[in-house]
Amino acid sequence: MAEIDNYHAVLLQLLLVIGLAATMLGLSVLVGRAGRRNAIKDSAYECGMLPIGDSQPRFSVKFYLVAMLFVLFDIEVVFMYPWAVVFRDLVAQNAMVFWGMLSFVGILTVAYVYALKKGALRWDN
């Protein structure tokens, strides 16, 4: 197809970038001694003291909670975009398209208010 030809430059760029990164990483492992790992190097650095605890600190469950809420509310935009594209044409025939989206957003609002009231977005406790 014709339009695919326009993307040759992008493909070339992509190959170059990946190739360059791979070469640099590969060379540093092959040539440099700095890349060699050992137990001391892999341990967490804590002001010359013996490391305490894990090198991967556990985070608070709050992070997961916010991330989950973000995923849920974020994904809803997927419906608003196509809706916005056809809105002008459809609303001329029937206001249903407007009320439909309003009820959808209304349900989301109820969910948001519920999360807020239950303290899911409070950080200080």
């Binding site: 249903m96 349900i107 109820v110 208010v113 519920y114 009231k117 239950k118």
Partner: protein
Amino acid sequence: MPAYFLEIAIVLLGLGLLMVDAFATTLDRRLLGHLGIAGVAAVLAGLVFGVDSSASEPLWGFYATDTAALFYKGLALVCTLLVLVLALEYAPVLESYRDGRPGRRGLGEFLCLPLFLCAGLMWMASMTDLLGLFVALETVTITFYVVVAYMRRNLGSLEAGVKYLILGALSTGFLLYGLAWLFGLTGQTNLAAIQTVLVDWKGDTTPLLFTMALLMVGLSFKVGAAPFQFWIPDVYQGAPTPITAFLSVGSKAAGFIVLIRLLEPLLASPIRHAVLLMLGVLAGATLIVGNLAAISQSNFKRLLAYSSIAHAGFLLMALAAGQPAGGVSPNGVVALYLGTYLVMTMLAFAVLVIVRKAGGSDELTAFNGLSQRSPFLAFALVLAMASLAGVPLTAGFFGKFFSLVLIAGAGQWALLTVAVVAAACGFYYYFKVIRCMYWNDPVSEAPPLVFSQLTRVAIILLCVAVVVLGVYPKPLTCLLAP
């Protein structure tokens, strides 16, 4: 009133109760349950008296309001109503497995979630489009994940939640991949349009068979058909008991609604014989696995889990017949079977909830001497067990009888033999429970069995329904006509 107002009403009820739960912090959460029960009862009344089937025009042909759809809506509503009653009864056990101050342990949310489940089930009953069917099914499944794992300080509940999550998502994967292929082969998502394409399918049938296999695997997980039944006992055992009741009726009904809708175009296509053969094999395997594994169970919840697998076998057998016989149609028998199954299963779970609350155990030994501790509950459980076994003059008889009639009419003698043997096995393990209640002595310090008047009324009504439907099944037989 168009039928889809009912779903809207249930969703609004659920959202409203959630808001009450969020804002009225000092309110007794039980009130939410009572409000929910009243609301669901009102919607049920609306379904019975106020639905105008011809008024659903604006939904552009993806929303059916035939008798079956309305029946399954009613089934979902009755089921939700009973689950809410059981949930109120179960509340002390639930709260003992949650963190937080008394009265703020998430009981409100637990009482709202069944309403969203109900809305999903009702919506699914009417869907005639792959998209709507899939979204409704997932609404139900995802809400079930939440409520199964609800008792956060109980390892059993969490493990059941994780198992249900993984196997439920796996079945969703299979189902969706199958739906994608069904769409790809026909270019349509409306089931009626798919049927017109499949009826004059002239090409190779291999892709059709592949699609059918994917859909069957996905739905076998959902309805709990062997060899995809292994998650059922664990999930049923771990989940809060009212939710187990909902799972065994609602989730099974959901699976069968989708199965029936998807089978319609497939049975009209050139691969009809392969579909029926596969259903027959699934039915046979499910009957054998469910009944044989149930015999050795000592935990009442696991016993009911295997019993629900066994019943799925009878339901699949009715569908495997593929043609009406003796004046009854396969889809009608499935509807009647699910209706009677709801009544008897709910009755069994209602007694279990009360015994669990008093004794702290789901084991069969907790039922020892129940006839002395509470003759009323023991009698109710006898009715439920007799009906689940399929004793004549109880509700459970007709479902089994008609599915045997269908399979005999289709001339599948091997499957008929398996089913008769399976039904006979059923008598053994259901009567094991009755033996516990009447022949074994209770533990000496058995605590008294307390339950609310609401639960008493529900149990009495269910007992009456079991007997009445067993003697006079007229209210349900209107579904049977081919």
